[in-house]
């Protein structure tokens, strides 16, 4: 069977600069006719020679920074725009889970919008009629379904849109950041619906998200884009780790360039993760020591300072926090540079990427410095890991006691 999506040498260029007016276009085509040089607008390569194939049933995450070309890539696969060079072959029907709002007409009621959106997404009216109850049920909007959507709260409108889009019966689902919708309970439901579509119905899914944990959980393969090029096309772990490393570089360069913007009492000069040998590293193994070296500059005297250093997940769940105040107070800071060495003797968290945060307080616990995502580090799998149960963050001893209740 041929691959369901085949992308060959896909390049997309956009012209930079202002829109051309009819006058300019006319002037330049006149100049061209007379054989004169016209001005060239700078080109921007949103996608640069991208090649990949996707087989049926694959769940592929596409990650990258803003402007890396993720959405442009999806637009080409969904046939919304055409490539400058290269070709795309798609052997199947596509359901773009469009951002809600595109197909929803505010003046129509929820029910009317279900039919309209269905038609826009190419779902036959009969199918919609058959699935109507299911869609309304999933959207949790029974009570409001005959009210115009313009009277809905924004969350309600989003729920409606998602319910319609996922009722579609297409071979390929394209999901662009739509899972972060609604309240937590609804997000959970959307997530479950997606997993059903993936696992039970064997759909091919393309998922763009900034929520890397979501990507690494749902996808069987991840493509990392950077400036329109594929950097890595591999299993989720490798690609996500590479993405965090990319992030680190960017954050570091920002830290240094933003140096002069601080006029607070404390500024961060440098932050590094160190190996026990004192080398600069980006990842550690499970239960390895975690050494963080931070350089700060103090501008004026701080009496009884308190430094807090902690780690958090990429979605900002605080994992650890250690304060200098826990045992004893440290000496006053006087103006100048300080180096802070901080060590966790063993960092017990499971493979993934984590961020470092730091706070500096004065004696009245006024915040003098506060920073999250200061640096990322990856925890890697050690060799014994493959034998242990998956999908957990920490190892805590647990005890099983199983007994049969019925005889």
């Amino acid at each position: 069977m041929p691959p369901i999506i085949e992308v060959k040498h896909l390049t997309k260029e956009y012209s930079l600069g202002t829109l051309t007016s009819a006058k300019d276009t006319l002037r330049h085509s006149m100049a061209k006719l007379r054989g004169k040089e016209t001005w060239h607008r700078e080109k921007f390569k949103a996608l640069d020679d991208v090649n990949f194939t996707i087989e049926r049933g694959e769940v592929v995450g596409i990650i990258g920074h803003n402007g890396a070309g993720k959405s442009t890539l999806l637009k080409h696969i969904a046939n919304i725009t055409k490539p400058t060079r290269g070709e795309i072959t798609v052997n199947g029907s596509i359901a773009p889970l469009i951002e809600v709002g595109a197909g929803v007409s505010p003046d129509l009621t929820g029910r009317e919008n279900i039919f309209l959106n269905g038609a826009i997404l190419g779902i036959p009216k009969k199918t919609i009629q058959r699935k109507l109850d299911e869609i309304i049920d999933f959207s949790e909007l029974e009570q409001f379904i005959d009210t115009p959507v313009k009277r809905y709260s924004s969350g309600m409108a989003i729920k409606l849109g998602f319910s319609i889009a996922t009722s579609l019966d297409a071979d390929i689902l394209i999901v662009d950041e739509v899972l972060a919708v609604g309240d937590l309970a609804f997000q959970r439901k959307c997530f479950d619906r997606m997993e059903t579509l993936i696992n039970k119905e064997g759909k091919t899914v393309l998922l763009v998200s900034h929520n890397i944990r979501q990507v690494s959980r749902m996808c069987s393969r991840v493509i990392l884009l950077k400036q329109g090029k594929i950097i890595i096309d591999s299993d989720p772990d490798e690609a996500c780790t590479a993405f965090y490393n990319e992030n680190n570089k960017q954050i570091k360069s920002k830290l240094i360039s933003a140096e002069q913007e601080h006029n607070n009492k404390v500024e961060l000069i440098d932050i590094q993760i160190m190996s026990p040998e004192g080398l600069n590293i980006e990842q550690i193994n499970i239960n390895d020591p975690l050494n963080i070296r931070i350089k700060i500059r103090v501008f004026s005297e701080i009496i009884k300072p308190e430094v807090v250093i902690g780690t958090h997940t990429t979605d900002f769940i605080y994992l650890t926090a250690n304060s200098t105040d826990t045992h004893e107070t440290i000496d006053n800071f006087s103006p100048g540079e300080y180096e802070i060495l901080f060590t966790h003797q063993n960092y017990p968290l499971k493979p993934g990427a984590y961020g470092v945060r730091m706070n500096v307080f004065d004696q009245n616990r006024n915040t003098l410095f506060h920073g999250e995502n200061l640096i990322f580090f990856a925890v890697d799998i050690d060799k014994s890991e493959s034998k242990k149960p998956p999908l957990r963050l920490i190892d805590v001893e647990g005890e099983f006691r199983i007994q049969k209740l019925t005889k």
Binding site: A22, A78, I80, T81, K82, A102, G103, E112, A119, P148
Partner: protein, 272 residues
């Protein structure tokens, strides 16, 4: 058209749904609802009738109000199909940037919407015909063909115009001006028979008269409006001599317009 038909047939449900949405949205919160669709031609008919009583226009044996109403029906259908068609792409930016279906769905939808309003106009026309005691003849069967032809003419304008409007919004600005000029160049206020009498019978422009009459008829609406009146009110067959120049123009320009649209379509999402 033959290129698009099989493809577009698959999208008929979408066109129906979008046209239905246009109509529902337009009239949902209006107390008079769909009645607004006929208020415009009725008002224009009354104004023209008033003006006519000052200037005097020779209309033969057909009463002027119904003659001008029968002219306004195809004219307003054409004018609004064309102008809403031209705006239809830029008005649906959100959809264009998010999802693919053939883009000609939008100008077609604009036209289908107007078709519904045209249908309502027929009720008014029927009432007027009853009032003036005019009976339709067998030639009224030409009317569907005339409407289909009007749709082709409107599409010629709206396909090209809507695509160009994505690049240069000047089109949407200029179009209302051009269309209101075109109304005076079409036999809406005055009947075509008047033009024919001046140019062909009286040879008012000397040796250029016959050529001028042909040029006048290159405007497809000249033939359409005249035939519409002939078939419905006078009970005679359309005047094919006045239809021919416009028909040739349409056959030449419709494919060009469609090809331009299909070519430009690829970049709508980038430019819009």
């Amino acid at each position: 058209m033959s290129i698009t038909t099989p493809n577009l047939f698959a999208y008929r449900e979408l066109i129906t749904a979008l046209a239905w949405k246009n109509i529902v949205v337009r009239y949902k919160q209006a107390y008079l609802g769909l009645l607004w669709a006929v208020i415009k031609p009725v008002m224009l008919m009354l104004i023209f009738t008033l003006v006519k009583s000052f200037v005097g226009i020779e209309t033969g044996d057909i009463p002027y109000p119904i003659l001008t109403f029968a002219a306004l029906m195809p004219w307003i259908f054409f004018q609004e199909s064309a102008s809403e068609g031209v705006n239809s792409i830029t008005a649906n930016t959100a959809l264009i940037k998010k999802i693919y279906f053939p883009r000609e769905v939008f100008p077609l939808t604009a036209m289908v919407t107007k078709l519904v309003e045209l249908a309502i106009g027929f009720f008014i026309l029927a009432a007027l015909m009853a009032y003036y005691q005019i009976l339709p003849s067998i030639h009224a069967l030409w009317v569907p063909a005339l409407i289909f032809y009007t749709m082709l003419v409107a599409l010629t304008i709206s396909l090209f115009g809507s695509a160009l409007n994505v690049y240069y919004r000047d089109v949407a600005q200029a179009l209302p001006v051009l269309l209101s000029l075109a109304m005076y160049a079409s036999p809406v206020i005055y009947p075509l028979s008047l033009v024919k009498a001046k140019l062909i019978d009286e040879q008012a422009a000397g040796e250029w008269s016959n050529a001028l009459y042909t040029i006048y008829n290159i405007n497809p609406l000249a033939g359409i409006i005249d035939s519409f009146q002939k078939c419905l009110l006078q009970g005679i067959a359309p005047d094919f001599n006045s239809l021919l120049p416009g028909f040739i123009a349409t056959i030449v320009f419709l494919p060009i317009s469609y090809l331009y649209f299909k070519k430009a379509e690829n970049w709508f999402a980038d430019i819009i």
